[in-house]
């Protein structure tokens, strides 16, 4: 405790110290405190985090995203205040639903009966998770993985048995907000066995205006011929932070299909690491970002082609208004063994304001010789001809602009194959526009 640097003004520690301080205070009470492997994992993570702290812009992978606004806050323990389902986001049509409020599983708000697969709370399942939790997310490699390993309270654990079609499962990650900023560190473990499938639709949200951090880590394993369709609908408060890290390992013939919608948050980072580990493993990483004045969203992907004949597809679209900033970093690493890799990456941005800024950094590292990899990035404003065409038909300028912005995003939504995810995206975008309309009115 004493070696921690106190902060002069408030007396409460800020930045990395605030999290280390919290760990010191909580470690006897965090889930798994009496399980030696969990205690050891947390201790290793704390050591790593203590040494490195949060990433800074001097780190190559964080060149465009500055965590300073987060580090200026001190975080308190969440006081969960959600007692009924009134505040829950609307259902996305799935029969099964797992709800986490302030990082904790809420059985009373969830509906997980009679499912053909096992699903539950990480905190409860911990005694059985030795060797599974922490297999993909290595604290030493990524400060946010270390932060999460140090402080995770709970999360979703799912295992879909071989050959089982799991249908749609909703995951709600909700912050209840409060006077003081709160920090949540869910750890989600998803395993899709041979030939099994699941559609997971996550809504991550909190009351508008609330200051909090959601910093989840996903560890996802898709076994041979399995498939996970994973939608993340991020509609956090515009004062909130969301720093998500996803690790997905896909075996031969398996597919990880991800769509991330970033519509909320003040400072958001989605980092997705996908490892294609067997022949014909596939990943589709798509997403759309709608950024209003003051928002910063960073999508960073790393695709590791570690086996032959694997396709990877990425399409990200970002709309930027006001003084907002969008970042896309996409790295494709093709190992020597990964012959006949087919990698495609497209990143498109629509700038609605001269003050908006977009940074795009594709990165290809190719060590195989028979490979097809392409990437592209476009940045543009609304098309004057299209705008005039709509106005010449009587559609007012503002409505015409919105139609074109919607159309720009629609292409990304239409690329989504899963009908449940497509419907969820439509609903979320619809709600976003309605909120914008109310604000404009």
């Amino acid at each position: 405790m004493n070696e921690m640097s106190p902060t002069a003004l408030t007396g409460a520690p800020l930045g990395a110290d605030s999290f280390l301080h919290r760990y010191e205070g909580l470690r006897q009470r965090l889930p798994g405190a009496r399980l030696p492997w969990v205690a050891a994992l947390r201790e290793r993570a704390a050591e790593s985090f203590r040494a490195k702290g949060f990433p800074t812009r001097r780190d190559e992978a964080w060149k465009y995203t500055d965590l300073a606004p987060l580090l200026a806050l001190g975080f308190a323990e969440p006081l969960s205040s959600v007692d009924d389902d009134a505040a829950l986001p609307p259902s996305q049509g799935g029969a099964a639903r797992a709800v986490f409020v302030d990082g904790r599983f809420r059985a009373d708000l969830s509906a997980l009966d009679d499912l053909p697969y096992r699903v539950g709370s990480v905190a409860e399942a911990l005694p059985r998770l030795d060797g599974a939790l922490g297999r993909l997310a290595q604290p030493s490699e990524q400060p946010l993985a270390a932060l999460n390993a140090m402080l995770f309270e709970d999360g979703l654990v799912v295992r879909v048995p071989p050959g089982v079609a799991g249908g749609v499962l909703e995951l709600v990650s909700m912050a209840s907000g409060g006077e003081r900023p709160t920090a949540l560190h869910p750890r989600h473990l998803i395993r899709i066995e041979d030939g099994a499938s699941l559609t997971l639709i996550e809504t991550t949200t909190g009351p508008e205006g609330a200051r909090y951090l959601q910093a989840p880590v996903f560890e996802i394993e898709v076994a041979e011929g399995g498939r996970l369709n994973h939608a993340r609908l991020q509609t956090e408060s515009r004062a909130a932070f969301n720093l998500s890290t996803v690790y997905a390992a896909v075996a031969g013939g398996g597919t990880y299909d991800s769509f991330v919608l970033n519509a909320g948050g003040r400072l958001v980072r989605n980092e997705i690491h996908t490892a294609l580990q067997g022949p014909k493993a596939a990943c589709h990483l798509n997403g759309a970002q709608l950024l209003a004045d003051g928002q910063h969203a960073d999508t960073t992907t790393v695709i590791d082609h570690a086996a032959p004949d694997c396709p990877s597809r990425q399409t990200y679209k970002t709309v930027l208004a006001g003084r907002s900033r969008g970042v896309f970093q996409g790295k494709i690493h093709v190992h020597q063994i990964a012959q006949r890799t087919d990698g495609y990456q497209m990143n498109q941005a629509l700038l609605l304001s001269p003050e908006a800024e977009v940074d795009s950094k594709p990165q290809l590292e190719i060590y195989a010789d028979d490979v097809k990899c392409s990437h592209g990035a476009t940045v543009g404003a609304l098309d004057a001809d299209q705008l005039f065409y709509l106005r010449a038909r009587g559609i007012p300028a503002e409505a015409a602009r919105r139609m074109l912005v919607r159309a720009f995003l629609q292409e990304a939504v239409e690329a989504v194959e899963d009908p449940a995810i497509q419907a969820a995206l439509d609903r979320t975008l619809q709600a976003w526009w309605q909120a914008e309309d109310r604000e404009a009115a």
Partner: protein, 247 residues
């Protein structure tokens, strides 16, 4: 209906219209013919309100109102319709959504009730049948993947739905085969009546065999150099614009 007086306009400092005088009364169909670069499309864009065209003098009144002071959408809601020479593709905007949004935007301005999705579909399907358009064109993106003829038919469909008081058809005949030309002409002729006027801009006389104009004007170098009845179009087809260009 439309009263243009001594209208001059330029693009990027280059004068294109050099004093246009034109009056179209309710129910009349006028044709403007002329060689390439004479200012035909500029006139249509200036009347529809496209940015980038600077009116440097003269006036244009529509139904007694100052057309040039209005936004493009206000002109449309007042009943002005421009059928584009090159209809714009709008990927990601469904044709049905586009048509209904346009129709309802205009109805709202005029204080009329908006159409719900069902009412609109019924109306749109009937109009499409008149134009021999396949119904799946409602579901596709606006003009996306449409052939040249389908795009022009889509313009006429919009006109049929929006029921303008004045339609400007900017080389709507270009790129059409004879069957499509006839369908487009039928679409225009169906609207003809005391409440509908049209300004048909064309390079060729062919379209005017199907949409017979009340008056024909020859536009050369930004000025109307000659006006006459429908027979003028036939004369131009035979002799070309050589005499007018020399004048």
């Amino acid at each position: 209906m439309l009263d243009i007086r001594n209208l001059t306009a330029e693009i990027d400092g280059k004068q294109i219209l050099r004093g246009i005088d034109l009056e179209i009364r309710p129910g009349e169909v006028h044709a403007i013919m002329g060689p390439n670069g004479s200012g035909k499309s500029t006139l249509s864009y200036v009347l529809a309100g496209r940015e980038g065209y600077e009116v440097t003098g003269g006036s244009a009144e529509f139904d007694g109102k100052d057309l040039l002071a209005m936004e493009p959408e206000e002109r449309a809601a007042l009943g002005l319709f421009l059928a584009f020479q090159y209809p714009v593709e709008l990927p990601g905007v469904g044709n049905a959504n586009f048509l209904r949004t346009a129709l309802n935007a205009q109805r709202r301005v005029r204080g009329e009730l908006e159409l719900d999705a069902m009412q609109f579909l019924k109306l749109a399907r009937a109009r499409m049948k008149d134009l021999s358009m396949p119904e799946d064109m409602l579901k596709r993106g606006v003009n996306v993947g449409f052939s040249g003829g389908e795009k022009k038919r889509n313009e006429v469909l919009q006109m049929a739905l929006l029921q303008p008081k004045l339609a400007i058809l900017d080389e709507t005949d270009s790129g059409l085969d004879i069957d499509a030309l006839r369908i487009v002409a039928d679409g225009v002729n169906a609207l003809r009546g005391p409440g509908f006027s049209a300004l048909v801009i064309t390079h060729y006389q062919r379209l005017l065999n199907y949409i017979v104009p009340d008056r024909v004007h020859v536009l050369v170098k930004g000025r109307i150099v000659r006006s006459g009845g429908p027979e003028l179009a036939e004369e131009l087809e035979a002799s070309g614009y050589a005499g007018d260009l020399a004048a």
